[in-house]
């Protein structure tokens, strides 16, 4: 993986992860809405994908965000926060393998956001299931989470093409970035 990303892109992904963690820690005080973190996750993961145009960038961003949240003690810290950030990112990257060259950029980003939010809801559901929660309640929570998560994730994804378009117009996307796609 080291050779796939140059240091510039690796650091950019790291900084996006930092920003994601910091904004999330600021927002969690204000908002009690379930799923709002999917807005930030889909926004920053997809910006990383757009800036590098490489499969794996979202997973790296998720992994780094999880590690940073763990290090900085954001949320409850610990390894669960690592999973919370990483699982949606991995799911989005796997999804990307199948739809990398299909659809328009906007639709592709929305689909990836939906995949991410479902993975996020699955992680919560699995956790609830493992602590012995009744399956009906697990399913209800899963439904609520995936619905609210999807709404936020799609909102985040819709902003990404606008950001990429501007970055491209200013020649800020390197030859690896998602130029003219």
């Amino acid at each position: 993986m080291n050779s796939r990303f140059n240091l510039h892109h690796s650091l950019f992904i790291g900084f996006c992860a930092t920003l994601l963690v910091v904004i999330k820690s600021m927002l969690r005080m204000k908002l009690g809405l379930s799923g709002h973190s999917m807005f930030l996750m889909s926004l920053f993961y997809l910006v990383c994908y757009g800036a590098t145009n490489k499969v794996g960038s979202m997973t790296l961003c998720g992994l780094l965000a999880g590690l940073l949240a763990m290090i900085l003690g954001i949320g409850k810290g610990g390894f669960l926060i690592l999973l919370k950030f990483t699982l949606p990112a991995i799911a989005m990257d796997i999804g990307l393998l199948f739809i990398a060259n299909l659809f328009s950029l906007k639709l592709r980003l929305i689909l990836l956001a939906l995949i991410g939010s479902i993975a996020w809801a699955v992680k919560s559901g699995l956790q609830d299931f493992l602590v012995g929660m009744d399956i009906k309640i697990v399913l209800i929570q899963f439904g609520v989470n995936s619905l609210s998560g999807s709404v936020f994730a799609v909102l985040g994804a819709l902003l990404v093409p606008l950001i990429l378009k501007r970055l491209d117009a200013h020649d800020l996307l390197t030859k690896n970035g998602m130029r003219n796609k």
Binding site: C16, K76, G132, I137, L172
Partner: protein, 235 residues
């Protein structure tokens, strides 16, 4: 490959620096001990969190006891209990509420067990975050990651205050330029896009440029020459 020319040194005015070397060596020893303790704490918290999923109901009391001890330890270290209490209340409200809605009062005990397990999953992580410094956790994780990614993580933490200041500065400057992004104006969702446009977008440009500069600075100092690196002994 660039070689260092001379390693023979002139006598320098190093009295200030030299006198601190002994103290630094002592610090190095202490920081190693702390690192070992931190590694043990990370493993312990992961095992304890996993146990909350796996342990049978009759043994849950023992786990609860260990966690109460952690809670007490964190409290002694002046940890903030508020997030944990908040989580407990929200979780109880949602889970017990749903059980009550679906099954009435008959399965409430089961609901309480579920809530307890969820708290026991979270508590060791919270304890870890409260009792171990971020510097030590990052050092332990740095040992596990490849050099490049360890560098990315430590650099990201190092630039955190800088990024925070950039966010504040850009936000203020755009407010002064008349952008509709004051807290009052952000109540209206129509203005959210303005926040993205004139704060998030310049910020991303700054991050792109910052990452480029730091990458240049690191590579110019031969970071990309080798996949192996030695370490400055006095961190």
């Amino acid at each position: 490959m660039i070689s260092l020319k001379s390693t023979k040194h002139k006598k320098c005015r190093l009295t200030v620096i030299a006198s601190s070397v002994g103290e630094i060596n002592c610090d190095v020893f202490h920081s190693k001990i702390k690192l070992i303790i931190c590694s043990a704490a990370i493993i312990f918290s992961i095992v304890l969190s996993m146990s909350a999923f796996l342990v049978q109901q009759e043994n849950l009391a023992y786990l609860l006891l260990v966690n109460v001890f952690l809670l007490f330890h964190a409290w002694c270290r002046q940890a903030n209990l508020a997030p944990l209490i908040k989580l407990f209340f929200i979780q109880s409200l949602v889970t017990v509420g749903l059980y009550a809605l679906l099954y009435g009062g008959e399965r409430l005990f089961e609901a309480i067990i579920v809530v307890t397990r969820i708290i026991l999953v979270m508590l060791p992580s919270w304890w870890l975050a409260c009792t171990q410094s971020s510097h030590q956790i990052s050092q332990v994780l740095g040992l596990l990651l490849p050099t490049k990614w360890a560098f990315v993580v430590t650099t990201s933490i190092k630039v955190l205050p800088f990024i925070g200041q950039e966010v504040r500065d850009i936000y203020h400057i755009q407010c002064l330029r008349g952008a509709r992004i004051t807290p009052k104006e952000l109540i209206n969702p129509i203005n959210w896009y303005e926040l993205v446009q004139c704060v998030l977008f310049p910020l991303l440009i700054q991050l792109l440029s910052l990452s480029k500069h730091i990458a240049h600075s690191a590579n110019q100092r031969h970071f990309d020459k080798s996949s192996k690196h030695t370490h400055w002994p006095f961190n």
